[in-house]
Amino acid sequence: MSALPEAAPLRRTLPRVTDRFALAGAVLIALIALAALLAPWLAPHPPDEVDPFAALRPPDAAHWFGTDAAGRDVLTRVLYGGRTSLFIAVTVLAVSATTGVLLGVVAGYAGGWVRDVIMRITDVFLAFPALLLSVALAVVLQPSVTTVIVAIAVTWWPWYARLSASMAASIATRPYVDAARCLGVPAPMIILRHVLPNSLTPVLVQVSLDGGGVILTAAALSYLGLGAQEPTAEWGLMVEQGQSLFTTNWWVVTFPGLAILLTAFAFNVLGEGLRNALDPRRIVK
């Protein structure tokens, strides 16, 4: 049996997610996502509008968050930057969770040499510090948003593979899996219909906890010049461009920095909240 606490099935628990913590995180992320999605309508200025005569203005009525060295509105670019960062986060999580979970579930259910092969490959990826591997990949590839996504997804999936493999291994011993085998259900269908849906709960928690991590990593890569390039609005890139101005023009670096902080925080709150809300010891109560 796995050492993981037995998570309650998703279907049974989802309607009970009344946990205030999880709710607060979800609302916060919804607001951030909404602001990013509606950026073209919310933003007071076009994102690439350069105005040399309005460079480095402190926050005022026309530019709430001030302007950067090229005279671009920082509020506008923070809103547009949210689109880039959230797009990266969602894509990375979708790609790595799908890959990791599928491989993990197959490994966990099949056991034997299938598990050994999949898990050893996973271990190879886990052997490298995640950020270092991402940086190495990003250096080899052309710096761009796509590069960031690939570089992070490659280091991220093994965690989901490992998590879902141990979940699937424990699900595989459940009577309903035996029952499915006794009904003549072929193995791929057992994995897809029974093992997968019942192993998803902890993955869901992990995905929401990881949202913040991906945003931070993406920002780090852009900050290092390996990710989004000018003139794309991206929080990490904005921080990099603004940091040298911090002592004289604090707003250029501070607002994108706060945006990163707030989003990462919101994902963590949601993840922690979900973890508590889906804890079987609380559901049984």
Partner: protein
């Protein structure tokens, strides 16, 4: 329907079940009794070819298929559709994320049974369940309902034999009686072959025609239920009977 000769199941050289002869005809109920670890459940699994990692010797014919030499696809085709297994913990045997109706519909599609809605309604009625049960999730039904649903699934799939592994031991006494009544009716009226594994001699005496007593992997006594349970010849059978309340 079920025909076993010289069955020998062993794991790594250790014999866990040895059954020289076991036949179940249509309409007949045969019970295997014995304590935990006596090889009862292993025998059942061997009938479906589900003893993974075990060496299985002897001859097993189930629904006309030679289980020891059948291909995985042939085995999958008889599992459920011709020989159904009813398990000990009825709710745990149902996938928690599926409505009962969805599960049954998928099983019918898997085995190519047409006219699913009518078949499902009839099967549910045959085990005296409310058809509304098909819209529920496993955690929303009682143990007795779940167990009768498992039997309904066997009927819907057109199974000719039911293998029941301690089908009542996880249920309340009153619910046990319902499940037993359903099983007995199916046996008598639909001519299903029923192979029952149980340590509950009271249950066995009400339903079984013939009894096999197993201990430590060996059949120690077998014969008509009436004789075995009233005039046991083996000391172990007498022990089991004396243990009855």
């Amino acid at each position: 329907m079920i025909e076993v000769r010289d069955l020998r199941v062993s794991y790594g050289g250790r014999v866990v079940a040895k059954v020289p002869e076991l036949d179940v005809a249509p309409g007949e109920c045969v019970a295997i009794v014995g304590e935990s670890g006596s090889g009862k459940s292993t025998t059942l699994l061997a009938l479906l070819g589900l003893t993974e990692g075990a060496e299985v010797g002897g001859r097993i014919r189930v629904a006309g298929v030679d289980v020891t030499s059948a291909s995985p696809a042939e085995l999958r085709a008889i599992r459920g559709a011709r020989v159904a297994l009813v398990m000990q913990s009825p709710q745990a045997a149902l996938s928690p994320t599926l409505r009962l109706g969805t599960l049954m519909r998928r099983a019918l599609r898997l085995h190519g049974v047409g006219d699913a809605e009518r078949v499902m309604a009839e099967a549910v009625e045959a085990v005296l369940l409310d058809p509304a049960i098909l819209r529920r999730y496993p955690h929303e039904v009682s143990g007795g309902q779940a167990q009768r649903f498992a039997i309904a699934l066997a009927i819907a799939l057109g199974a000719e034999a039911i293998l029941a592994d301690e089908p009542t031991s996880a249920l309340d006494v009153t619910v046990q009686a319902e499940v037993v009544a359903v099983l007995r009716t199916l046996c008598a009226e639909r001519g299903l072959a029923l192979l029952l594994v149980s340590h509950d001699l009271a249950l066995v005496s009400t339903i079984a025609h013939r009894v096999l007593v197993m201990r430590a992997g060996e059949v120690v006594e077998s014969g008509p239920a009436g004789r075995v349970l009233s005039e046991p010849s083996h000391p172990y059978t007498r022990e089991l009977l004396e243990a009855l309340p």
